[in-house]
Amino acid sequence: MIKKLTVPSRGAKVAAGAVVVTLSFAAVAGAETFGFGTTPTEQEIAAIDIDVMSDGRGYPEGSGTVAQGKEVYASKCAACHGENMEGVKEAGGAALIGGRGTIGTPKTKKTVESYWPYASTLFDYTKRAMPFNEPGSLSNDEVYAVSAYILHKANIIDANATMNAETMSKVEMPNKDGFIADPRPDIFNYR
């Protein structure tokens, strides 16, 4: 009798006969895993592990002040986001501040100030994708500084604030409680 050789899959392990799967797996690979690929070095991981999480994990070394951020903003950001962070429609740059309290009203204005629930997202996104014409070019100090300047202009932190891993982690955004889990299906028209 010819048996079909199979490879392990999670579904098979759960649903099918575990013994058969294990045997045929051994016949194919002779090991518990395929073992393809290599082990990345810590440096290789660190080089692209740039995300920052809302609980503060992932913030890099460095710091920046509101005053320093003002300079970074003027040279790297203002062209698209406007001198006063009001956004520049022609450039496709969104408004960064204002609109607080408008979410869910006819005048809804989504900005970092009014809508973004976590300061970590501001740091993370600026670091990974901004400025648009030179993505990923800002140093950690510059990202801390420009984050500080935006958060200050959004009336979230003081003018004399210095932002670093510790202070950024403690920022509470105005709309932090503005999000709920997806409740769908929300229309019960079943048959």
């Binding site: 490879v7 392990p8 899959s9 999670r10 579904g11 895993t33 395929f34 073992g35 393809f36 690929g37 290599t38 082990t39 990345p40 290789e44 991981i45 692209i48 592990d49 995300d51 999480m53 809302s54 609980d55 429609k89 022609e90 450039a91 496709g92 969104a94 979410i103 869910g104 009203t105 006819p106 005048k107 809804t108 204005k109 989504k110 809508y115 973004w116 629930p117 976590y118 970590s120 997202t121 993370d124 996104y125 990974r128 994708a129 648009f132 993505p135 990923g136 503005g178 999000f179 709920i180 889990a181 997806d182 409740p183 769908r184 299906p185 929300d186 229309i187 028209n189 079943y190 048959r191």
Partner: protein, 480 residues
């Protein structure tokens, strides 16, 4: 079969919409994209003096033929013959012999070994006119589509930092975080694993964003063109998770792309274990660059943005990462002012693609109503069609194979009596969920409760088209 009419380029007045600026800008953009395509068609119609008798298409004059009832016009001697200097995108221009049986044709394999479409076929995606061409999107021409597969070159797109050019030989995927054995995979490594192929749709959750409040765009490409279906081939993500050994407590995985946006989304680990895939193939060949070459994430049934293209990193974690695309974007503000987050599933939906907006039926008689139905929750069970504005519904025939999380082609034979008609379709998926009306969606989520604002994402309501006594077909969203 159909007659084009001189396109109507007027649109509803947006000043009465009273909706947020960002939403307004998106509606205006969609309008401008459609308008541009319709204007191109208008220009050609005037040029060839053939306002009647052609399939509605922005570049229809290439086809220089009549069909069906319009053949009479051709017989009368008004058949237009229009030469064009340049071939449409994806085609090459060749001289057309008067009798192809009297001259030898083109040389075998003279195309270099990779074929192109006919110079007489000119369906193209439309681009949403964002301020930058790097961050933009395009819509699939559904009206002319056949079957359930979208040609790779017509698959809708959404890019946030342009289309990167990546040499697969120097691309790798690093999997790390809460696992026993972090791994770095070359594209060649990934192709050594047991592979799988699945035919799945991908739909942008912004598909239909212009139609929440009232009928707005004119064509099905505008109202529904942000969905496409391909056969995707790759390695199940569960295989990779087995390889790296996921640690207890892991709940989310960050997927990250290698484009200029370094696009990121958090994926629930249950989804990663169930049917997620790292795809390197599309419709029998490598992924197209605009679809994520050399590798992309496939999360069948989830909103398109989560299918991270140009995948370079997967980080296993205990919490979601709260990236920009899952906080400031792709969240739905509903009527209590709260925003729904992680609204992944694309719910059951369908649309009639023929007849659809801007077409013109030449007269009473037989028409095959056809369209697409799909559900992010599984197979399409039934599609029902109404030709009387939703008073009565009839089962459409479904073209097999009916696959889970896949466009399903439906057809419904119809004798049009020449009176105004309101046609619509609704999809019932295998969970029993029936595609709701737009009104019932708005009632729950808030447009009716708050008539002055509207959502952007996840509109899966019933789409209707109104057919006038003159055979013209117009958007009748909200009317069923």
């Amino acid at each position: 079969m159909t007659k084009a009419k001189n396109p109507d380029l007027t649109y509803p007045d947006l000043s009465s919409y009273e909706i947020p600026e960002d939403k307004l800008a998106q509606i205006e953009g969609m309008r401008d994209a459609e308008k541009r395509a319709l204007m191109a068609r208008k220009a050609e119609l005037e040029e060839c003096e053939c306002r009647e008798g052609m399939f509605p298409n922005p570049m229809a004059s290439r086809r220089s033929f009549f069909a069906g009832a319009a053949a009479a016009a051709a017989a009368a001697g008004s058949l237009p013959v229009v030469a064009r200097a340049a071939a449409p995108p994806g085609a090459k221009e060749f001289e057309v012999p008067s009798d192809p049986t009297k001259v030898q044709g083109r040389l075998t394999n003279d195309d270099g070994g990779y074929g192109s479409r006919s110079q007489f076929e000119d369906e193209v995606r439309w681009r949403f006119p964002t301020k930058t061409k790097e961050s933009s999107w395009t819509m699939t021409p559904l009206a002319a589509g056949m079957g359930m597969i979208t040609p790779s070159g017509l698959h809708f797109e959404r890019h946030h930092g342009g289309i990167p050019t990546i040499n697969p030989a120097s691309h790798s995927l690093i999997v790390h975080g809460m696992c026993d054995k972090p791994k770095k995979y070359s594209v060649a490594d990934l192709k050594r694993f047991p592979s799988d192929s699945r035919i799945n749709f991908i739909e942008c959750s912004g598909n239909g964003l212009t139609e929440f409040k009232a009928p707005y765009l004119k064509t099905v490409q505008g109202t529904h063109g942000l969905t496409s279906t391909s056969e995707w081939t790759g390695v199940p993500l569960s295989t990779i998770l087995d390889e790296v050994g996921v640690k207890p407590g892991a709940a989310w995985i960050l997927a990250e792309g290698a484009d200029a946006a370094v696009m990121t989304r958090s994926v629930p680990i249950d989804k990663a274990w169930s049917d997620a895939m790292i795809a390197y193939g599309q419709n029998g060949e490598a992924l197209r660059p605009e679809q994520g070459y050399p590798i992309r994430l496939m999360l069948p049934g989830y909103e398109g943005n989560t299918h991270i293209k140009w995948l370079r990193r997967l980080e296993i974690s205990d919490k979601p990462f709260q990236t920009r695309e899952e906080t400031s974007k792709y969240t739905d503000v509903v009527k209590d002012g709260k925003a729904r987050q992680f609204s992944f599933t694309m719910e059951a939906k369908s649309v009639i693609t023929f007849p659809s907006g801007e077409m013109k039926l030449p007269g009473p008689g037989f028409y095959e109503i056809t369209g697409l139905a799909w559900s992010g929750r599984g197979r399409v069970k039934d599609v029902e069609v109404s030709t009387d504005g939703g008073k009565t519904w009839h089962l459409a025939s479904l073209q097999g194979p009916i696959l889970p999380i896949c466009h399903t082609r439906f057809r419904f034979p119809w004798m049009w009596d020449g009176n105004p008609a309101l046609i619509a379709s609704r999809c019932i998926d295998e969970t029993g969920y029936m595609q709701p009306t737009i009104a019932s969606i708005n009632e729950v989520r808030g447009v009716n409760g708050h008539p002055k604002f509207a959502s952007i994402y996840h509109l899966n309501g019933i789409m209707a088209w109104a057919i006038g006594a003159d055979g013209s077909v117009v958007n009748a969203a909200h009317k069923v």
